[in-house]
Structures are given as C-alpha cells and as structure tokens.
C-alpha cells in the first residue's frame, strides 16, 4: 500500500480525510523529530546520554501511525519510538531521562500520556498491549491499544503468543511492525523466510503491508485498523516497510555488517523529502513553511538539550521508593541500611 512515491509523485488517492493544516503538521512533526533524534546522538557523544537508539528514516512510520490514534487509545512502544512519543504528548526531556540513565522505562507518566513504558526485552510489550486491549474490551470502551515492535521482534515467542491470543479474544489491538530491514546486525532475510504481514492469516485476522516511508499511507492503514478495532472487529497486523538509516544504537558500528551502498539506496526513499515534495507540489505548503519548521525544530532541540543537561541524578531513596506499593518492615530495614551507609 503506497500513496506517495519516493519521488513525491502521487501513487494513489492522497485524500485521506485530512485538511491542509493537518497535512502540514505531519511534515512539521517529522522535521522536528529528525532534528531531535540527531540532537540526542550528539548528546550521547558528549556524554550527556547513555547508549541511544536513533530512528532516522522511520519518522513517517512512527508519526503516521501515532497520529491515527485517539486520546483514549493506548500505546505500548519499544525503545525506538521517541517520534511516536512526541505525537502522544510525552515530554521529550522526561522521555530522555531513560537514556540519561536517571530512570527506567517509564520516567514519564504512562497513564497520563497513554503511552506505555519504553520496553527493551524484545517483544515483551506485545502481551502487555494484548492485556490492555482485553481490559478495554472488558470495559466496553470504544478504544484500542497499539503495540509497536520491530521485524526482529516477530521471531520471539511473545509476539506469537500475544498475536494468537488476540485473535482468539477478538480484542481491539493494532500490531504495528516497523520492518526497518535490520535487527542489530541481522537483515530481515535472516530473521524470517516468510513475510511478516502474512503471519496474520494464521491468527485469523487481517495483515497488511504498507510503505512505511509514506506517511499518508501509514496514517490511512493505521486509521483503518484503529477503526476496525474500535468497531469490535478485532486485531490487525500492520507491517510498515521502512529503513534504519543509522546504526542500531550509538554503541553499534553498522559498518561491520552493512554495506554503505544499501544505506545510500535507502536514503533515496527518505520519508521527509518525499512528503515535502508532495506537500508543496499539492499546494498544501510552501518553502517558508518548511523553513519555519526547521527553525522550530532547532529551537525545540536546544530546549530539550538544556532540559536534559539540567537533569540531576536521582536521590538514592528512589532505588527503594517504588518497588512495592506495600513494602514490608524488612524491606524498610534494608532501605535504612542502604541510606544510612
């Protein structure tokens, strides 16, 4: 499924029901997200963040899908969905506490933002999304849960168990796979001999493959899946084909296993330039708008940088403050021992 070609020309019906303002906003968010991603990599190099997993190249997949969600919907992300987090209204500085090393997966409030904690154990967030969708079904809500995961995550038992159970229960779940071509050093071809989107059939619900670098197409297929889920028609598996332009993380050297030529070829499919070309060509925006976005992005990146650097290390008490809602006397004794000396 594709609506805009890599060169920016129309490849399908681009009227996905969004007005010019909303369409411009998509470009704005992609520009801001990419700028922030690059700032984070700089912050890591300068020792202000621990290992950081960049998402350059995946802006359309993340922002297009997140924009298709409503306020009542809920997201369970992996560790690479900062762009989607921004769409959900997660505060960037709070989010980056995770990479700053000042707290675990949920430094922001997952309930308030309806964006679950950053999740590192591969595919383990998918059963959480299933469970949350079961809860929405029990509560009879017209809302859904979306789980983000990568191509590599589809090899884990947790993906399978959650997808199959979601099919059995017919819960309002959207399984959104960002197939960015790589899982650290393993290309998708080494991850599976099948096609990820086609797994859905075996679970009894629809699977769809979309050009993950085409933000309009991503938005459209995700919105359809979200509506299906809210209607009570059950889960959908979406495979968004995109590409991880950078290394797996700032700790990884992709040069060891990946040819530069492949990356160059991928750059020609860039989600931002493609969408910008189309947006301006279709008369929804002009060059000034783009410049405005870039200025806004710079300012935002600088604000986030300042906020991150300003964040102090947490007090030692935090190590004990949230382990239990009802801690035992013995636990408190250990806490005192730790704080005492």
């Amino acid at each position: 499924m594709r609506l805009i070609s890599p060169d920016g020309s129309e490849a399908g019906d681009t009227d996905v029901g969004l007005n010019s303002e909303a369409l411009r906003d998509m470009l704005r968010r992609m520009i801001i997200a990419r700028r922030l991603d690059r700032e984070c990599i700089a912050l890591q190099r300068q020792g202000e963040l621990t290992v950081y997993p960049g998402f350059e190249g995946q802006e359309a997949a993340q922002i297009g899908s997140a924009l298709a969600l409503g306020a009542d919907d809920f997201v369970f992300p992996t560790f690479r969905e900062l762009a989607a987090a921004l769409v959900r209204g997660v505060d960037a500085v709070q989010y980056l506490q995770y990479h700053r090393g000042t707290w675990h997966g949920g430094p922001y409030d997952p309930r308030a933002t309806r964006f679950g904690p950053i999740c590192i154990p591969i595919a383990t967030q998918i059963p959480h999304a299933l469970g949350h969708a079961v809860g929405q079904q029990l509560d009879g809500l017209e809302a859904c849960t979306l789980a983000y995961f990568g191509d590599g995550s589809t090899s884990e038992g947790d993906f399978h168990e959650a997808a199959n159970m979601a099919g059995v229960f017919g819960v309002p779940l959207v399984l959104f796979c960002q197939n960015n071509g790589w899982a650290i050093s393993l290309p998708t071809g080494g991850q599976t001999a099948g096609e990820i989107w086609s797994r859905a059939q075996g679970y009894g619900f629809p699977g769809v493959r979309v050009d993950g670098n085409d933000i309009l197409a991503v938005y459209a297929v995700t919105r359809d899946a979200v509506e299906r889920a809210r209607r009570g028609d059950g889960p959908t598996l979406i495979e968004a084909l995109t590409y991880r332009i950078g290394a797996h993380s700032t700790a990884d050297d992709a040069g060891r296993y990946r040819a530069d030529a492949e990356v160059e070829a991928a750059r020609s499919l860039d989600p931002i330039s493609r969408y910008r070309t189309w947006l301006i060509g279709a008369g929804h925006a002009d060059q000034d708008f783009v410049v405005g976005c870039e200025v806004e992005a710079d300012t935002f990146a600088m604000e986030v940088r300042a906020g991150v650097i300003a964040t102090p290390a947490p007090p030692v008490e935090w190590m004990f403050d949230w382990t239990f809602a009802a801690p035992s006397e013995g636990f408190q004794r250990m806490r005192r021992e730790a704080l005492g000396g």
């Binding site: 809920f74 369970f76 707290w103 675990h104 997966g105 949920g106 430094p107 409030d109 997952p110 309930r111 679950g116 904690p117 154990p121 383990t124 998918i126 059963p127 959480h128 999304a129 299933l130 469970g131 949350h132 969708a133 079961v134 809860g135 929405q136 029990l138 509560d139 849960t145 038992g157 947790d158 168990e161 959650a162 199959n164 159970m165 059995v168 935090w318 403050d321 949230w322 382990t323 239990f324 809602a325 009802a326 035992s328 006397e329 013995g330 636990f331």
Partner: protein, 332 residues
C-alpha cells in the same frame, strides 16, 4: 459452593477453601478477573476454579490458549487498564515459560513506571511434589520467585490458611505468587474461613517447643509436625514454625525461634543449594549468631532433578531425616 462465607463452621479441603477465596474475591471486586489454562469451563485440574465461570460469567473467568508468557503479560496489561488479575499456571514447571515476563515486568513494572501503576497480580501455582506426578509436575520453584526482587511469595500449609493467604494475595497491591502444595489439596480442616489469620509477611508457630525449632512451609509442615511428635520419645520438645510467607520472611519470628531454642532445622523439598533454607540459615546467623548452640540444619531435597514417582519418597524430607537433623542439633 456457598454464596456466603466466613459465617458457619464446616470442613474444608485446601482446594475447596481456595475455591471459596476466589469466589468471595470475585464477588467483592467487580474489577477482578481470573484466567489461565482450563480454569474456566473445566474448573481447573485441581478443581480450584470449579464453578467460578458459571457463577461470574466467561468475561470474568476465562480460559486462555496454552501461552504462559502471554498469560503473565496479559495480567500486566490489564493492570495498566485498571484490572486486578488472578492467573494460574497449571503446574510448577509450567510457570517457567513465563519467567521472563514475571522477572522483567510483573516484578519490576511498578518500579519501572515510578509507582504510577500498581501490579495487583496474583499468580497461582500448584507446586511441590508428593502426588506421584510425572516429571515437571513435582518441582519446587520458590527460589526463582523469592530471589526476584519485587515479588511477594506465600505458601499455605492448611485449608483455612489457604483461604486467608489467597484472599490477602488478591487484595495486595503488589504481585504475589501463591505456591499451592498440591499434595495437600485434599487435606481437610474444620473451621470458619476468614481473614482473621495473619497476613503476608507473618509466619506462625504450629507447635510450641523449646529444644529445637523446625522451620518449614507448605506440604512439609505436616511432615515436620509428625517429626515433632516422634521426637517426644527422644525427650525432645520441638517447636514447629510454618513460614507461610517466603517473601517477605518473618525475620522477627525466625530470630525469636533461634533465641528461644538455640537450635534450628529448616525443611523443604527444593534442592538444597540456594533453597530457602540457605536464606533462613544466613539470616538467623546474621541476626542471632550469639544465641546459636548448633549450626542451622538443612533437611531438603537433593541437588538433582525431581525424581520419578517411585523415588519421590527417597527424595523428599522424611520424618526420619527431620528427626535425625533435629537430634543432631540438640546433641551438637
């Protein structure tokens, strides 16, 4: 099943008391769900969930596919949606496929999100041996759970206490693993089920005695009581302590027992190395070293896989082994 509880005195089996606890908890909390393999229509391999689905409907009590990791993960997701869960793993070893979810998320999630979401999840596991079960049906998994920070672990040894501990586990805002001694499911006890019994973190003395303290939990408690009776002939007055709660441990009770008897023997079915007795022994040494007249004894399973039915008796702590250890402590 009774609709009313805690009222009249009657005879309970552990299975029946646990069933009543689930029934009462479901009746009390409309946001509690019970799910797992074969817990719905069939009522569970040990009948613990018998009748719950017909009483509360298939949305509150439901069967799942055979997917333990997803069962545990579903409970985590339900907690985010404001639901309280009781999940069952059919047998001890069948809780292992969910260990990643339990260790990484069930135990850590509240800390991970800085307390913004509680994890009121009860994990029921028929555990331990003694029923001539097949391999993987007689394991003692407590060490895996007790060592995992963020979990509470309880083990009832009798029907009435089973009711209390399961109700307390369900009501607890934190994840609680309930290890149900399957060898005791049909043991009987007469009384009134209720919440009067002590809560999580508190052990109990089932037999007074000042010569030696025999500390155990679960199915082994009865064997320890039998050993204590047998020790009378040797003129030994043994105290029997039922830990009830393995995490947190009742340090005060352990210290009191050590101080008052000077001699402690810990009994469990799990393999010895890093079994609960190691922790109990280490704590007693830390907290009551000067009162110890003898080293804390360990009467445990051996460091081998749980054996086939024919060798169960040789593997599990026996009255003889417990008595020998108690006498060794007394005569040390």
């Amino acid at each position: 099943m009774d609709e009313v509880t805690g009222t009249e005195e009657r005879e309970w089996t552990l299975s029946g008391a646990l069933n009543q606890a689930l029934h009462d908890a479901l009746a009390e909390d409309p946001r509690l769900v019970v799910f797992g393999e074969d817990v719905g229509r069939s009522g569970g391999v040990f009948r613990v969930t018998d009748g719950l689905q017909s009483a509360f409907g298939a949305t509150r009590v439901f069967d799942t596919p055979i997917s333990e990791a997803a069962i545990a993960g579903t409970a985590v997701g339900l907690a985010f949606a404001g639901w309280r869960s009781v999940i069952e793993f059919q047998f001890d070893a069948f809780s292992y496929p969910a260990l990643e979810q339990v260790i990484d998320h069930v135990a850590k999630m509240r800390e991970r999100v800085r307390g913004r979401v509680d994890m009121p999840i009860t994990i029921r596991i028929p555990a331990f041996g003694g029923i001539r079960g097949k391999e993987h049906h007689g394991e003692s998994p407590e060490t895996y759970y007790v060592h995992t920070a963020g979990l509470k672990v309880v083990v009832p040894s009798s029907p009435l206490d089973g009711y209390t501990l399961l109700r307390r586990a369900i009501a607890d805002p934190d994840p609680v693993v309930v290890l149900e001694p399957k060898a005791r499911y049909w043991a009987k006890e007469t009384g009134i089920v209720g919440l009067d019994e002590a809560g999580i973190g508190v052990g109990r003395v089932l037999r007074a005695g000042d010569d030696v303290a025999i500390v155990s939990y679960g199915a082994m408690v009865q064997t320890c009581l039998d050993a204590a009776s047998a020790l009378v002939e040797d003129g030994v007055d043994a105290r029997v302590v039922d830990l009830r709660s393995l995490a947190p441990l009742d340090d005060d009770l352990l210290v009191r027992s050590a101080v008052e008897t000077g001699r402690v023997v810990v009994v469990h079915e799990a393999p010895r190395t890093l079994g609960m007795a190691a922790e109990v022994a280490a704590r007693i040494m830390e907290l009551a070293f000067d009162h110890l007249e003898a080293p804390v004894g360990r009467v445990t399973g051996y460091d081998v896989p749980y054996p086939p039915a024919s060798l169960e008796a040789a593997y599990r702590p026996s009255v003889d082994r417990i008595c020998a250890a108690a006498l060794a402590a007394v005569r040390y």
